[in-house]
Amino acid sequence: MEKNKTSEDSIKILNRRSFIIIIFGAILSLIVSLRLFSLQVINFNFYKKKSVENKLSIKLTPPLRGDIYDSKKNLLAGSTSMYEFVVFKNLSKDHFHEIKKLDSLIKLNLNFDEITNQLKKYNEYTGFSLTRASWEQIVEFEKNKFLFNSIKIIESKKRYYPYQNFSQIIGYMGQPTKSSEPYSKGVFHLEKSYEKHLRGTPGKIFNEVNAKGKTIREISIEKSIKGNDLDLTLDLTLQNYSQSQLPIEKKGSIVVIRVSDGSILSMNSNPTFDAQIFENRENNKIKDILNDDQRPLFNRAFSGFYPPGSVFKPISALVGLQRNLIDPQKKVFCKGHSSLGDRNYYCWKKEGHGKVNLKKAIKESCDVYFYELAKKTNIDDIASLSSNLGLNKEYDIGLSNIGKGLVPSKKWKKAFLDESWYQGETLITCIGQGYNQTSPLQLATLYSAILNGGKYPIPKLDKNAPTKFTGRSLNYEHQKIIINSLNAVVQEPRGTAYKLSISNPEFVKIGGKTGTSQVIRIKESEREDDQYKSKEIEERFKDHSVFVGYAPYDKPKYIASVIIENGGSGSAVAAPIAHKILDFAFKNNV
């Protein structure tokens, strides 16, 4: 291994190569330095901001929700203390096992899939509320406290609904779904639509945290601000009274509004439910409510749509007057039916009303009079006046599932059924049957429009909302004729609701209109066979009983709209209920 002939040249190459590598190293160092300069000097502000955001955590503290009151400051929805089982993931690795243990110990009937899903969204230090804890459950838990490291009982606020008769208007709250907003939110009716108004501003606790979300120290606190209260137009006593007047075994609805400003004073629907069950998260009862085929969550006052029946007739009469199709004094002969083409259209009174003028036609609810009028009427005029008087409209008053209903027109039929309009259909539309679909709230509004002379206040639930008028003015003479006729329905002999004046003479005097809403089209033969009136007719095919009335008849203050599903005729069932309620409203000056 002779190494003494090391060549000078080869050493030179090594030194030259060494130089190249040093230059290479220097260039790399320069690149790194320039990059550092870019990060730390040029973009310093950007990364500084990121770093500050990184270490701050804002924890929200739920605000106290605004209370809901009736028009006389009776509490309808408030907040009260409650206790919850809350899991903190950081306290034990075994937290899921402990949840199962708790469930079997206290029979909470927890939904584990749901909990697993929700827990993923929560970081280790944010408590996740499992369920409410009753006193018995708390006692049971305290006895076995040593078994649970990750579960604590935490006090918080819950919504409190003292009267279940308001559940179908006020709605209820839903569970929080996000870790960043760990508090309940309104999910139904007013609780939902007035969420922003009621919610308030959450408090903020600014914490310096580490990467796992653990609080290192508290930096500052902003206190939460209570949400705004909400005053409703509803009247506690009237709402409760109305509910008591709805036959328990029947589905039905009652709406009472004030004529002067459209305030909804009560709005009931049967069957109903208790919102407190949702707030208490009583899962079994909630399931029962959701699966009930009587649909207790469904508020028939504004989500229930029915053919209005004869209650609709004033609209047809007004169209006749406006278009000069009828002379109110001129009489039409009712022989029990009217013909159009080769078809007969029957009056509810088989033997006929004889000679009938407009007032008598409304008072005694003669169908033939309106059939004759309908033969000359354009259906589009009916539709357009209906819309002017509050039908075929959705009122934006914060209620979930409020519907629009339907008053048919040629355009509608072409668009939805792809068929042209038949005059025969105008005949049945003019007496409130056929395609007509109206809700009890809409019918109350229709009568408010008539009593207000065409320009009517839009119904409202928020007491502090300004009263807004809409619609077009009616001819004063026309309005007077209609109102006189409606007064006669109750006040004059042979009026379809004259019975009311006889049986309860001490009650406030009212006007109004009865209606019978057909559930199924009655075949001609059946009418002739009198099967129609048979008491053996299956319950669910029985007509809906409708009545819209106002009181006092000479200076209307209140309107009550009543529907009893499958109740039979309007005069027999709905009218007496409406009379009682109007009397109650009047005497209690709601």
Partner: protein, 372 residues
């Protein structure tokens, strides 16, 4: 008798390059301070441990300084075979952590043999080229053997899998071949070949390695997952600014936003506290540390000595640059430790051995028959 073959005379200890030794101590001490602050101002769990290791390794450090260069020269192949056995043992009996089998337990220590592969390979190749240096240039055929050896070790480490260390091993092999004086055409040619076969190499990478490279190219692909490291590291460094947040004032690191902050991302901790100024000072310190042995090589004529001094000194500086480049997002995160600053025994030990070798070879007085 044996000790005379193995070791230099004791008095040679006084010929040490003390400047280099003090720079080493300064860098290690900066690393200690950094580990102390990474723990939020605590000696636990890293700083004290690392200091203990340093003190424990110090006798071995001086032992290596005292080794006779001839002994190292003669045993070059033996070191390489020992390392080869170690690597194979690791693959078969190794201790698995974080999806990779990189460690073997020897006398209570978890030893990462791949770290020592770098040293053994450089010594082996230094000897190989020393023997060939009589010829004016080293041809392709003769440079192929060390290339094959480098690639074998590259593969052995890459399948652990430890791509970072494997790439460093291959790079050091190539640097030796280049430094030893082969024609420039060959390194350029092999670079071309590597570029051509890189799509094929891509398919050999483990999914997590492919992931790291994709995320390096676009960290925002997965900001809370695998891109998290790079993003958080850049936030830490960037928020340091020109002067830094000050000692123990790095919120990114002290609040645990930075994963692996005591190992691969230890530079981010440093840079967040001491800013651009501190970073440039650190780079300068490492650059000076690189140059001191390199300057010595110009005075030497023995190829073995030159390669040992140049390439091993380059190794420390090269790893330093690769590590920083990772933390500032100009290279993919491949797991290369920051010499003397990252927490970890094997890296510290192997770098101490390298520095001891450098001190050793810097202090020798050459004679032309020293390796005969």
């Amino acid at each position: 008798m044996l000790s005379k073959i193995m070791f230099k005379e004791f008095k040679s200890i006084f010929n040490l390059n003390w400047i280099y030794f003090f720079i080493l101590l300064i860098i290690f001490w900066i690393g200690e301070i950094n580990l102390y602050s990474a723990a939020g101002g605590s000696l636990d769990p890293w700083a004290l441990n690392q200091l203990t290791r340093f003190l424990f390794f110090l006798p071995l450090f001086f032992l290596v300084i005292m080794l006779e260069p001839k002994f190292i020269f003669n045993f070059a192949e033996v070191f390489l075979i020992l390392v080869l056995i170690g690597l194979i043992t690791t693959l078969i009996f190794g201790y698995t952590g974080m999806g990779a089998t990189r460690w073997i337990r020897i006398a209570g220590f978890n030893l990462q043999v791949s770290e020592f592969t770098k040293i053994a390979l450089v010594i082996f190749m230094a000897k190989y080229f020393h023997k060939l240096n009589a010829e004016k240039t080293i041809g392709l055929i003769k440079s192929i053997f060390p290339l094959i050896v480098s690639i074998i070790f590259f593969i052995l480490v890459a399948i652990q899998p430890d791509l970072g260390t494997a790439v460093i091993i291959l790079a050091l092999g190539l640097v030796v071949i280049f430094y030893a004086g082969i024609k420039l055409i060959y390194p350029l040619l092999s670079l071309g070949v590597i570029l051509l076969i890189s799509p094929i190499l891509w398919t050999f990478l483990k999914p997590y390695q492919q992931n790291r490279i994709q995320i390096f190219l676009n960290p925002d692909l997965d900001p809370l997952g695998k891109g998290y490291h790079i993003i958080q590291s850049k936030i830490a460094i960037g928020s340091g600014g020109l002067k830094g947040n000050g000692f123990l004032e790095g919120s990114q690191s002290s609040l645990d936003f930075l994963p692996e902050k005591e190992t691969d991302f230890v530079f981010a901790i440093f840079s967040e506290q001491f800013g651009f100024t501190g970073s440039i000072l650190l780079i300068s310190l490492f650059f000076i540390m690189f140059l001191i042995p390199v300057l010595k090589t110009y005075k030497l004529t023995q190829v073995f000595n030159k390669i040992i001094l140049f390439v091993l000194s380059f190794k420390i500086f090269f790893e330093f640059l690769i590590n920083i480049s990772m933390t500032i997002g100009i290279l993919p995160v491949v797991g290369v430790a920051l010499p003397f600053m990252s927490y970890g025994g094997s890296s510290l030990l192997s770098n101490l051995i390298i520095c001891a070798l450098l001190l050793n070879f810097m202090s020798i007085s050459e004679n032309k028959r020293m390796f005969s």
